[in-house]
Symmetry: C2
């Protein structure tokens, strides 16, 4: 009944207009698990780290209900490392350095104890690796959600298109939706992508919110207007964690519940960007999360009876 | 009890990725009046045109309840002309040509019959001209809404800051809000601008929707996701017309009603961009408008009880 998450657990070094971090803990699966664990446990994590990954971080995840049987530790190697720089428009970023390290030959094995997972979140990774995880599931999960990025569209499009056929919800940003579909209009892009396999498409637009497409239905979620977006790293993964955490908890995969899941994801992402790295995600309480979700109601509600 | 509108009535020549127009009817006050007249009449228009402005266009506006006593016709001169080109990202545009013509020495006179207007919409114009209209009003209107643009921030900032002191609602786009406040964060920009005079700030973000700021309150309205944005010219003015049309009709200047007004404005703007120039605005019915406003409810509504 639990949530399976696959993705990177890594080190990041980040520069934003508000400051600069040393090597800090990052990785898609780290953010997804931290975010989702507010809604559902256990989370069954699949990833790979080097001997340099702090035991304290693994222990913290375990304390949040994240099972680590599927996290391979290669003692004599280094963890994946990414370094990037953001500008004032935080929807754009430059990659300064990428060191694959342990990720170079990551061959995830789904432990037997993970086979009961009905919900699968494929964090951004080599498409063939995402696919290999799906192929190891003996029962087709109730819902498979996938994230990906422009890099795989440029280097592994056939593999990406193959795994997309087996995915229910694709979660990408606006420029990735345009690149994947070769359509500039996001409505046209969605129509094209919904023919590639996914029945639902979530387009993340950073500070401009997110769109959910399903058939002819559309839902628009705002981002919470914030004084400062301190560090957007991991915001998309945190969004995915909130989205998938909510759906796994409620076990309701209707369009209506996905709309609520997007609000939950947006609320979680709004916390993530308030401090560097995972700092904010580690300190928020369930009460703060509920208050913030409530803020989204006030943010978008209007009185149609006044028209 | 009616709405006073001041602004340009002009010719445009427009190029978008979807096509190119000859000289067509445009101007801020034209779009505002066409949009607002779906909600309130009479609209008391203040503008200036040359002898080249088609009588049929004036007659059409009159048939929609737009009073033209305040529209000066300079038979021997030419109307204001603007030509511009849009790219795929329609939030950006290049001005190809601007011919002031009659606008060069526009000194608007508010007719006596306009003095009963409780609602005033100052369309984008030289700030000193906007101010001169306000100064001619013998009774302080119930609500003054103003639009402006980056050009006036660069060439007439002191005049702009002066008129801002007398305005209730400022309606500008995101880059203009950043320029006016010298703040990148829109939340910080809003705080700064709300100290300049206006009690409400509406930030238009094109395809990303609009934000309403008032004190510590924020409201976010989406734009309707459209397959194609055919021509964004006049969308901001059409938004203003819908916003002000709704408020003038309901005579309710509460924050709550302004939220609904923003949805009405967004719905009107979503029609405007579907065809070149004013074409779409001239053909839509009240029923189509109501259907579209209803679409916005479906676009943003989510079930918080599912959280």
């Amino acid at each position: 009944m639990s949530l399976l998450v696959v993705g990177t657990m890594a080190f990041d070094a980040i520069e934003t207009p508000f400051g600069k971090s040393d090597r800090i803990i990052g990785g898609a699966a780290t953010y997804i698990a931290l975010s989702a664990s507010n809604f559902i446990t256990p989370i069954k994590q699949i990833s790979i780290v080097g001997g340099d990954f702090p035991q304290a971080e693994l222990d913290f995840l375990a304390s949040r209900g994240v099972e680590l049987e599927g996290v391979e530790v290669k003692k004599d190697q280094k963890s994946f490392f990414w370094s990037g720089k953001y500008h004032l428009d935080m929807n754009e970023r430059d990659t300064l350095d990428t060191q694959l390290n342990v990720l170079a030959d990551f061959k995830p094995v789904v432990p037997e104890s993970y086979q009961d997972c009905e919900f699968v979140m494929l964090g951004n990774l080599v498409p063939a690796i995402q696919h290999s995880v799906l192929k190891q599931m003996k029962t087709r999960p109730k819902l498979v959600v996938m994230d990906t990025m422009n890099f795989w569209m440029e280097t592994a499009m056939p593999d990406l298109k193959e795994v997309l056929k087996h995915v229910d919800v694709l979660l990408i940003n606006d420029s990735e939706a345009r690149q994947l579909s070769a359509e500039y209009s996001l409505v046209k892009a969605a129509k094209a992508i919904l023919k590639m396999g996914p029945k639902y498409l979530v387009v993340k637009k950073g500070e401009h919110g997110a769109l959910l497409f399903h058939g002819d239905q559309v839902f628009v979620a705002p981002a919470l207007p914030l004084e400062d977006i301190f560090d957007p790293t991991g915001a998309g993964d945190t969004f995915a964690g909130g989205f998938m955490g909510h759906i796994s908890r409620t076990k309701d995969i209707s369009f209506n519940n996905m709309k609520t899941a997007i609000i939950v994801g947006s609320a979680m992402a709004s916390f993530c960007v308030e401090k560097f790295g995972t700092t904010r995600l580690k300190e928020i309480s369930k009460e703060q999360i509920n208050d913030r979700i409530q803020q989204f109601v006030e943010l978008v509600n209007f009185d149609i009876s006044l028209v």
